[in-house]
């Protein structure tokens, strides 16, 4: 903690003249600490308790994944590319296989495409729930920490029965998915999503309508529509500022072109809007899971695909829980890519942190930047 002006006798004794410029600005280093999601630091400049400027300082969980995946074959890279966001593993996995399949010219069978969407939507709910629980912690609302984490187990169990793993599935492979639905999955999934939607109503009563939350989220941390676009934000952050962009609709991939769903937006761009976009999306994803299971076509789940990245370039992108996740892949014909650029939703939304925090009170800082759904590990890669 340092004062930005030179330490004079007056202000080190705690009696600065209020007229002196900069006498009350303070530069605060928040972190590096584990803020619920991996280490990161914010450098915050304050006037009293009002934030004048906040700069993110990422990199504490940087793993050099872009380098690692240049050196491994495309199958061995799958567990690696899932690591930046283990709570949303299948969506990142999907972007990876989309880029590869585009270069290979391989189209997975219809059932495989539906199963990909099924796990993607389950992941979206799981990721949003994890995010919501940390949001609850930041507000000091212990129930909102416990409930979403507890209800997340409903979907973790389902994912485990589908893929064999609780969080990092490596379920999507070039050409399709690793295995078919287990017996009795559909009945169990329908039961659980219906129960989960009832739980969301209970969340509403205890949290989303609670003045503890609304008074500290409405009108706080506003990101205008114009700013959200020019800063290149994506996902719930962009939709919370009134832009109805969603790759599942804009560039329908896998089975999304055949599914019926809405893109949820809110016009205000404040912390409250971004939270409510997440909540609306969880309801939509529950509905989508049931719809996928109802429309699920029969047939194989996987087609043969070579372990090779043909010469050429591709840009595979999907709508992950935190926005667009993409791989810009350049192939040379070997079993590994020449270059695989990995751009995640959190990395793009990092640009919005300063914009959102400007003018916010220090006490509202944790919830305001967390409402962007910035996941440090996913940004650092």
């Amino acid at each position: 903690m340092t004062t930005t002006d030179k330490p004079t006798q007056e202000n080190t004794l705690g009696s600065p003249s209020p007229d002196e410029p900069g006498a009350q600005t303070l530069t605060l280093s928040v972190g590096p600490q584990h803020s619920g999601s991996g280490h990161m630091r914010l450098i915050v400049e304050l006037d009293g308790d009002i934030i004048l400027n906040a700069q993110p300082d990422p990199g504490y969980v940087h793993r050099g994944i872009e380098k690692i995946i240049e050196l491994r074959n495309i199958i061995r890279s799958i567990p690696v590319i899932e690591r930046p966001s283990i709570i949303d593993a299948s969506n990142l996995n999907h972007a990876w296989v989309r880029a590869i399949e585009e270069l290979q010219g391989v189209e997975p069978p219809a059932r495989g495409q539906y199963l990909r969407c099924l796990l993607n939507e389950m992941n979206r709910i799981m990721s949003h729930l994890y995010w919501l629980s940390i949001y609850g912690v930041f507000l000091g609302h212990t129930t909102m920490f416990m409930w979403p984490l507890g209800d997340r187990e409903l979907f973790i169990d389902l994912a485990e029965s589908l893929t064999g793993a609780r969080i990092t599935y490596s379920y999507l492979v070039p050409g399709g998915v690793r295995r078919d639905l287990p017996q009795g999955f559909a009945e169990e999934a329908i039961k659980r999503t219906e129960y989960f939607e009832k739980r969301l109503d209970e969340y509403e009563n205890i949290f989303f309508k609670n003045p503890l939350f609304t008074s500290r989220a409405k009108g706080v941390g506003v990101l205008s529509r114009q700013k959200a676009i020019e800063l290149g934000t994506t996902g719930p952050t962009l939709r919370g500022s009134g832009v109805d962009a969603d790759l599942r609709k804009d560039e329908p991939y896998a089975a999304y072109g055949e599914l019926d769903f809405k893109v949820h937006t809110r016009p205000d761009g404040d912390s409250y809007s971004r939270v409510m976009v997440h909540v609306d999306e969880m309801r939509e994803s529950s509905q989508l899971i049931r719809q996928i299971l109802k429309k699920l076509p029969s047939g194989p789940v996987r087609r043969k695909a070579p372990i090779v990245v043909p010469r050429g370039e591709a840009y595979g992108r999907v709508e992950s829980a935190r926005g667009e996740c993409s791989f810009y892949m350049i192939g040379e014909g070997g079993d590994k890519p020449y270059r695989a650029r990995y751009i995640t939703g959190s990395y793009r939304n990092m640009a919005a942190i300063s914009a959102v925090l400007e003018g916010v009170r220090l006490a509202d800082m944790p919830t305001s930047w967390w409402s962007i759904d910035y996941w440090p590990v996913e940004a650092d890669r």
Binding site: L71, E230, L231, G232
Partner: protein, 160 residues
């Protein structure tokens, strides 16, 4: 799904008409994906045209690629459109090449503020220079990192 390239061809035509000498190459590599290669000294003009006239106002990322065998780096700006819903799926890869021994480019932060972090990452990971970048400091690497830019092709892992 409509498989024609009408919208892509139209965008390419407009770009070529307005910059007949500056655009080295413009092709639709598939539906919704357009590659545009420009000379580094003209990239600002083309970028402004893309943003203001064609509504590519939403930067989705910047990639640098090390083509060490050709002694050049390629810088690729990935651009999409948020305000025009009819071209939300279209992604323009705006490319420029800089020589490996003098990797200088012009920063486009003034045109798309969202590219700031991506350009910063290219500076530290590839050793590129972006003139006019407001904050050319380390982003992910340590401030005291003094090794080579780690994403360059000649940098290998000890176990590799």
């Amino acid at each position: 799904m409509n498989l024609s390239h009408e919208r892509e061809d139209y965008l390419i035509k407009i770009l070529k008409e307005n910059f007949p000498n500056d655009i080295k190459d413009a092709t639709a590599i598939r539906r919704s994906r357009i590659n545009v290669t420009v000379a580094p000294e003209k990239i600002v003009d083309v970028a402004l045209f893309l943003r203001d006239k064609l509504a590519f106002d939403h930067p989705t990322g910047v990639s640098a690629v090390d083509y060490n065998r050709e002694s050049r780096f390629e810088i690729v700006y990935h651009l999409s459109s948020a305000t025009n819903p009819d071209q939300r799926d279209i992604l323009i890869n705006l490319k420029e090449s800089v020589p490996r021994n003098s990797p200088k480019a012009t920063s486009l932060v003034k045109i798309w503020p969202g590219v700031e972090n991506f350009e910063r990452e290219s500076i530290e990971m590839f050793g590129l220079q972006f003139e006019g970048h407001p904050r050319p400091e380390k982003l992910f690497l340590n401030d005291n990192w003094d090794g080579p830019p780690p994403m360059r092709k000649e940098v290998r892992f000890p176990t590799d």
